[in-house]
Assembly symmetry: C2
Homo-oligomer: 350 residues x 2
Amino acid sequence: MNLKIAALAGDGIGPEVILQAKKALNAVGLIFDHEFVFEDAFVGAIAIDKTGNPLPEQTLNLCLNTDAVLFGAIGDPKYDNNPDAKVRPEQGLLKLRKSLGLFANIRPIKPYASLLNASPLKKEIIQGADFIIFRELTGGVYFGEKKLNETGTIASDLCEYSEEEITRISHLAFKSAQNRRKKVTMVDKANVLETSRLWRRVVKKVSEDYPDIALDFLFVDNAAMQIILNPRQFDVILTENLFGDILSDEASVITGSIGLLASASLGKTNALFEPIHGSYPQATGKNIANPIASILSAAMLLEHFGLHKEATKVYEAVEKAIEYNVVTVDLNKDSKFGTNEVGDFISNVI
Amino acid sequence: MNLKIAALAGDGIGPEVILQAKKALNAVGLIFDHEFVFEDAFVGAIAIDKTGNPLPEQTLNLCLNTDAVLFGAIGDPKYDNNPDAKVRPEQGLLKLRKSLGLFANIRPIKPYASLLNASPLKKEIIQGADFIIFRELTGGVYFGEKKLNETGTIASDLCEYSEEEITRISHLAFKSAQNRRKKVTMVDKANVLETSRLWRRVVKKVSEDYPDIALDFLFVDNAAMQIILNPRQFDVILTENLFGDILSDEASVITGSIGLLASASLGKTNALFEPIHGSYPQATGKNIANPIASILSAAMLLEHFGLHKEATKVYEAVEKAIEYNVVTVDLNKDSKFGTNEVGDFISNVI
Ligand SMILES: CC(C)[C@H](C(=O)O)[C@@H](O)C(=O)O
Ligand SMILES: CC(C)[C@H](C(=O)O)[C@@H](O)C(=O)O
């Protein structure tokens, strides 16, 4: 197979971890005789520095004309702490998601057997947990109208959802449940929000097409509790944009490190793969960032193109790294291995 | 002291737990020679059943004309699973918060020494954690305009905040930090939301009045992670309505049971005290609900009126119950003690 992949390393540790994902894909290409061609482009704070635009035209065009996007991370404290900044790195990512129509963000959560002790949660709580979060990614309060009055004393954000936006991601979630343990849990705040009540109605309607799938509902406050109290109860979690953002970061603690979690963002014609961690500025350039989330994102890319054997190779190599304790300091505070060494080990095992 | 207290037991386990809170207050009254006069009124699903209105005029008037409100819980599954219901129990609570101007919800989180093993989190993670969440309670997406188009295919909720709404709760949070470990952590999503950016600006401004307090900021997704990874880092958390709802329920797992957590909701002239747990319909009438959250809410009521010695008595009695394992099944699955027995034990110790 021939794949043209846009590599958007972005900010902070992005470049370091994307490098490792490329290495892993190159190793896969060599063994299985695929050609992966990477084209680099800027996004985020670095793109603002270079062009004034967090998503330069050129980057967007590249992404629209490649088979897939491999994304690092974006974000820079100099913008976070400046509420008056007119341009911010995050706008690049949000615009990219919107322009590519990436409406479904898929985040699998499953602890590794040899890392059961790495989590702040007790082993008996997380053992056997295995769920996927389907987060709606191009709607809700992220993209609704934002206002600030002239005197700067009143601000607002609009959260809006349409039946169509809810329907398309719901089908993906139910289909995924059919290949799993056949349960979908919808998370919302239907006791307060009109959008949540629309979600409930639409998801119920969609569920009629999937009589083999059990559907239940949780309020988001309760869900935030249940994910820690009893993560094994979940199979597929389906939720809107902001709740998915919060719950998937929270759920990352189950695995012991957010540095292990990958995600796929899918649209009708485009696909983007990124670690769920952020740009982690404190670690930039120190060769300490965990490359596994990025490498696993590359594995999700392989799966997306039907390259299941190839993806399995990557998963196995990652498992071996973890088993042999060839991991970064987030997983083993005495580790002598850096981003590069872990990346090399994994590509060599592939 | 003479206090007239509106007792709004509400739905589900509300009546059972409120009864225990009254017992505790009566015990305090007897010893310290205070008179607490309770006036009962309906709210929530039971009020809808009786009057069609989740917050009957009579209940609201009572609350406006008492010294404080003791609140049980509201909610009923028959409304949760009906997205088309026109009236819902939660409206009663929201309208009450708004009408009484209860803009600050205060939720202390601190594990009990003898319950360190009851949490799904490892003992070494939660030991020494001790923080308070200040949740804004009468603004944000809870109270913004809600819309549903005529065809029922597009819904929206508006999240709105004004400088004034942010300022008043921020002062409370900073003042509280002055009596504690002198740190305020503001939680928002300023990289995406206009309202969050307003929060940041206003909180920074307010912080200038409190040079002795350290202020830092966390994005809500990161905060959802940090609360579990390292709860000891927090002293006072300050946040908007919806984030506060999610994070405080999540934080309840630190203590081992949501049945232990009390809250105070304060306005300029009114005050309401309620457990943070909900109506827990599955437990209703079974004498298994944990009354401690309600009893601790009563203790917060005492503190609010400057009755610190009295409140301390209640805290000590609760600690004794926990220490002697006179607790409900949520804390000890083999427990032989029910709601009533735990409540009796605590009032007797007082
Ligand atoms: C960087 C930020 C805008 C983004 C989001 O909130 O979606 C990130 O937290 C994520 O989850 O991908
Ligand atoms: C019942 C519900 C409306 C309420 C809320 O979301 O505020 C509850 O969850 C709470 O936290 O008091």
